[in-house]
């Protein structure tokens, strides 16, 4: 015998204003299996909840329907009420008579009819709902962090300092990311290395952080709490355990090629570290330019290495790691301005990017901090910055990259400090100085005589003899087209998603936002989570950010990951699909439609059957529809329940 209690909420006048709640309650009380129906002014209030709780206990209710606001508002509230009264929380249904009835219709009689129908449907469903219990799974209490820029570094340190293990995988040969390329940082003009290197050293010394550099994650399988990652540790062409980082090999290597790390503003050797404070301080042999590897000649590094560490033939290694949560902190790429043809980058030598300027301004950079013109090495006296290159642009990226205004102002100030006589112009559309201390910083630049020119730069051309770039721009404050001959132009390039980000995206099943960056689970309320349980985002991998925002998000991602792995076990939603193995013939159609790889076909003694991994299944029901035998059911969303609900509203059955 089923004892269903139905509770109808007035929601003040929100429902009662349009629905005849008293009349409705009387009708509902007569429905089959409904042993009581009650109405109350605010069902979600404490007394409302008590009403339900007491009835469950005293009147032996075994199922409950609440007719009130959308289940998205209070389903969980009422589930807790059921649980506290000792009733399985899955034996609850909500009839949405506010958002989907009283708020969208005006006619009292018809809306009341509709509310009755919605309640009938809920009664039909709850009658057949099964009690479900959450499953628990063991959790591997370690976190994988992919990418060791400032975001990955911060996340790793936070997790390790709380006492959990971290596997940190960095693609490049040193950790540090883009921040290590920067000279100084806005708005305080701290030297980037001075604030970053201590953290890098901390990573290398922390026993809880297992660091893989010059490595990439090749494969990830599993689910929240239980992931497996396959890591490729690329060969550096030497035995890392022997290398002491003395640097002799780099010194003696005869081959020089343009340095990617210096954004082609300087040269590096064929065996090289990225920068003097690299962590780990172990070089890599660039196989494309090493003379010994390409031509079989040279071999100088091997000869000079006092530790005998060089091993040209060394191959990549593969390592498997098990983890419970993943933080993606793979960062950004700078926008490549070659596609903005009108600016002549790559054609006019004295047009450079903001990141190239950072390398010039870096005390340990190719020019030891002196800003010089690429064409003749002269010190430029008239310099212009062009803002929003590749950002806020219909032809490139629509979004704002959020750091370019501030880094242009920063570098303008730094140059002005060095050479007060220089003339500096910043061509902008809007100056976005939104962060703490940023507007003040902008003001300081104005006071220091940096000239702000409002208007988008139309084009840049070159005076052939002097190699001086000339900016032609629409000055929207003067209302005229201006031309300005300069010694050097710096393009403030924005941020774009990393060129290889789709690999990570596919591997983890992440979504990408329209701008191409990884998508968060909710733009406002879940900005560090992803839609894949157990996977979090930190830093610019999720969208353009400056360092303070990156660090803040990295700390958020650490706390998200910790929330997962700080428990030994994990509760999984029981609202998932289930196979009736008596009916299953193991055809695998269900496996083909599952986006999560939750289904496996296993061979039993005589036949094959499909098995669903309850930890991976998300409960979308795709497999149930694909099954031609009807052997898969999505719990509490079965055919019979659906038919009963349809019958309740259409067939007049009760």
């Amino acid at each position: 015998m089923t004892n269903i209690g139905v509770y109808i909420c007035h929601c003040g006048t929100n429902i009662a204003g349009v629905v005849d709640v008293e009349g409705l309650t009387q009708k509902v009380a007569k429905l089959k299996d409904v042993s009581l129906a009650k109405d109350y002014k605010y069902m979600c209030s404490e007394p409302g909840q008590d009403l339900i709780r007491e009835d469950i206990k005293n009147r032996n209710l075994d199922r409950v329907v609440v007719a009130a606001c959308s289940p998205r508002m209070h389903e969980n509230t009422y589930k807790k009420v059921l649980a506290s009264a000792g009733l399985n929380p899955f034996l609850l249904e909500i009839a949405n008579i506010r958002e989907q009835a009283s708020w969208v219709h005006l006619d009292k009689e018809k809306t009341t009819d509709k509310a009755l129908d919605l309640i009938k449907m809920a009664v039909a469903k709850v009658r057949m709902d099964e009690p479900l219990t959450s499953l628990s799974a063991n959790v591997i209490q370690r976190v994988l962090v992919i990418g060791a820029g400032i975001a990955g570094i911060q996340t790793s340190l936070d997790i390790a300092n709380i006492g959990f293990d971290v596997v940190l995988v960095e693609k490049e040969q040193s950790i540090g990311g883009r921040m290590s390329q920067l000279g100084k940082t806005f708005p305080t003009l701290d030297c980037s290395a001075c604030i970053l290197t201590p953290k890098m050293v901390e990573v290398s010394l922390n026993p809880r952080i297992k660091l893989f550099t010059y490595s990439e994650v090749e494969e990830i399988s599993g689910f929240i709490g239980n992931f497996k990652a396959k890591i490729r540790k690329k060969s550096r062409g030497l035995d890392e355990s022997l290398c002491t980082g003395c640097g002799l090999c780099q010194e003696k290597c005869p081959t020089k090629v343009p340095s990617e790390y210096d954004e082609k503003m300087g040269k590096r050797k064929a065996i090289y570290t990225l920068f003097p404070q690299a962590v780990p301080n172990i070089p890599v042999i660039d196989r494309a330019s090493c003379l010994y590897i390409t031509k079989g000649k040279c071999g100088v590094c091997k000869k000079v290495c006092p530790a005998g560490a060089i091993d040209y033939e060394r191959t990549d290694e593969f390592i498997e790691e098990e983890i419970g949560a993943v933080v993606v902190a793979t960062g950004f790429d700078p926008f490549d301005p070659v596609s903005k043809e009108e600016y002549g980058f790559g054609i006019y030598r004295n047009v450079i990017t903001g990141l190239q300027l950072e390398r010039l301004l870096h005390a340990a950079g190719p020019t030891k901090g002196e800003v010089v013109r690429p064409s003749d090495g002269a010190i430029p006296k008239r310099i212009a910055f062009v803002q929003c290159v590749g950002s806020r642009d219909e032809h490139a990226n629509k979004y704002c990259s959020r750091v370019c205004c501030m880094y242009a102002i920063k570098n303008a100030l730094l140059i002005k400090e060095h050479h007060p006589e220089s003339e500096i112009f910043i061509y902008y559309i809007d100056i976005r100085a939104f962060g703490k201390g940023y507007e003040e910083f902008y003001k300081r630049a104005q006071e220091n005589g940096i000239k702000f020119m409002r208007g988008r730069v139309a084009e840049i051309f070159e005076e052939q003899k002097s190699r001086n770039p000339v900016i032609r721009a629409d000055d929207t404050l003067l209302g005229m087209v201006t031309e300005n001959e300069l010694d050097m132009v710096v393009l403030s390039v924005g941020m774009i998603p990393r060129s290889d980000s789709s690999k990570i995206q596919k591997m983890l099943g992440l979504a990408a936002s329209p701008d191409g960056f990884f998508m968060e689970a909710h733009a406002k309320l879940r900005p560090v989570d992803t839609l894949v349980d157990g996977v979090f985002l930190a830093g610019t991998a999720q969208g353009p950010k400056d360092i303070p925002d990156t660090v803040a998000q990295a700390k958020g991602a650490a706390s998200g990951a910790l929330e997962v792995i700080s428990h030994k076990t994990l509760q999984l939603s029981p609202l998932i699909s289930e196979v009736d193995e008596r009916l299953c013939r193991g055809c695998g159609d269900c496996k083909d439609v599952c986006e999560y790889g939750a289904i496996e076909i296993v061979t039993l003694d005589t036949h094959k059957v499909a098995r669903i991994n309850p930890a991976i299944c998300k409960g979308c029901g795709a497999c149930a529809v694909a099954c031609c035998n009807g052997s898969i059911k999505l719990r509490n969303y079965t055919d019979s329940i659906t038919f009963a609900m349809l019958d309740a509203t259409l067939g007049g059955a009760v």
């Binding site: 043809e341 009108e342 054609i347 084009e459 051309f461 052939q464």
Partner: protein
């Protein structure tokens, strides 16, 4: 033999018959036949008309395409303006069924139907893609060595680049490649991709503004040391040629810079009879250039 339906537009038959004559006979040399489109009207001009009344503009352009399509061939134009109109109309109509139906309803009144089966091509594409730079180079009889050419691409062939898709719209190269194939030197000059001044109906409304543009371009070319302009558009051609005469009349400034359509330059290289190039119908004599070429030959 390849065939194209030829859309001549207004300027070529009325003012610069040399452009058609040279192009037709050179194409014949390369085994490409140009078929006439009988009853074609003004394209009509891309920017101005379409701004005033898009549907009227589309209907007229669609009619021109429709009667061109009847030849069963792709349509070729020799003017960027005509190209702009026909190519943009073709693009709009083929991408929007509703619009296409609406325009065809209008066209049905004159017994015409736009099907959208033909490609709209520009003469420059026929030379750089169908014939190719290599073949042009190999057929040269006269050396144009030592001639300094300033090329002018014009706007409507390249832009809007989303629709036109001819590669780089800020630093295009194909016309320079053709110039180099003739043996002449293509030299860079300031504001090469700037408008000639003709466009947007400005010429009709505000001749001062138009000539201001033209003068600036001419000055930049002279400063760079150009012997002539080579263009690929009948409108730009008119602007530079007639514009020089007008500048002389109004401002008393004289440039005497010969203006050649690119096929006229190829014609010179092929050793075509100079009468056939139609240069004598132009305002600015090309004698200085011809002397330089002939001098070079000696």
């Amino acid at each position: 033999m390849k065939e194209y339906a030829t859309f001549l537009g207004c300027i070529i038959p009325n003012r610069y018959p040399g452009i058609e004559a040279t192009s037709t006979s050179i194409l014949k040399y390369f085994d490409i036949e140009l078929l006439p489109i009988n009853g074609a009207s003004c394209c009509p001009a891309p920017g101005v008309f379409s701004c005033f009344h898009l549907e009227s503009w589309l209907a007229i352009a669609a009619r021109n395409i429709a009667i061109g399509e009847e030849t069963g061939q792709d349509i070729v134009t020799m003017c960027n303006g005509c190209y702009g109109s026909l190519a943009e109309a073709n693009h709009l109509l083929n991408g929007n069924k509703e619009l296409k139906d609406k325009i065809n309803e209008i066209l049905s009144k004159v017994g015409c139907e736009f099907k959208g089966n033909s490609k709209i091509k520009h003469m420059i594409e026929v030379f750089s893609e169908d014939i190719g730079v290599k073949k042009i180079q190999e057929s040269m009889k006269n050396t144009l060595d030592g001639i300094k050419v300033c090329t002018h691409y014009g706007c409507h062939f390249l832009k809007p680049s989303e629709i036109k898709k001819h590669g780089s719209s800020e630093r295009p190269r194909f016309l320079d490649d053709i110039v180099r194939a003739t043996g002449a030197e293509s030299i860079d000059y300031k504001d090469k991709t700037m408008c000639c001044g003709f466009g947007g109906g400005v010429r009709a409304k505000d001749i001062d503004v138009t000539l201001d543009f033209t003068r600036e371009k001419l000055k930049n070319i002279i400063l760079a040391g150009g012997d002539c302009i080579v263009d690929q558009c009948a409108s730009c051609h008119l602007e530079f040629d007639r514009g020089q005469a007008e500048i002389k009349k109004i401002y008393g400034e004289e440039f005497r810079l010969p203006v050649l359509y690119f096929t006229q330059l190829i014609g010179l290289g092929l050793g075509m009879e100079q009468k056939k190039l139609g240069l004598e119908f132009q305002n600015i004599p090309a004698q200085s250039l011809l002397d330089k070429i002939n001098g070079g030959r000696k």
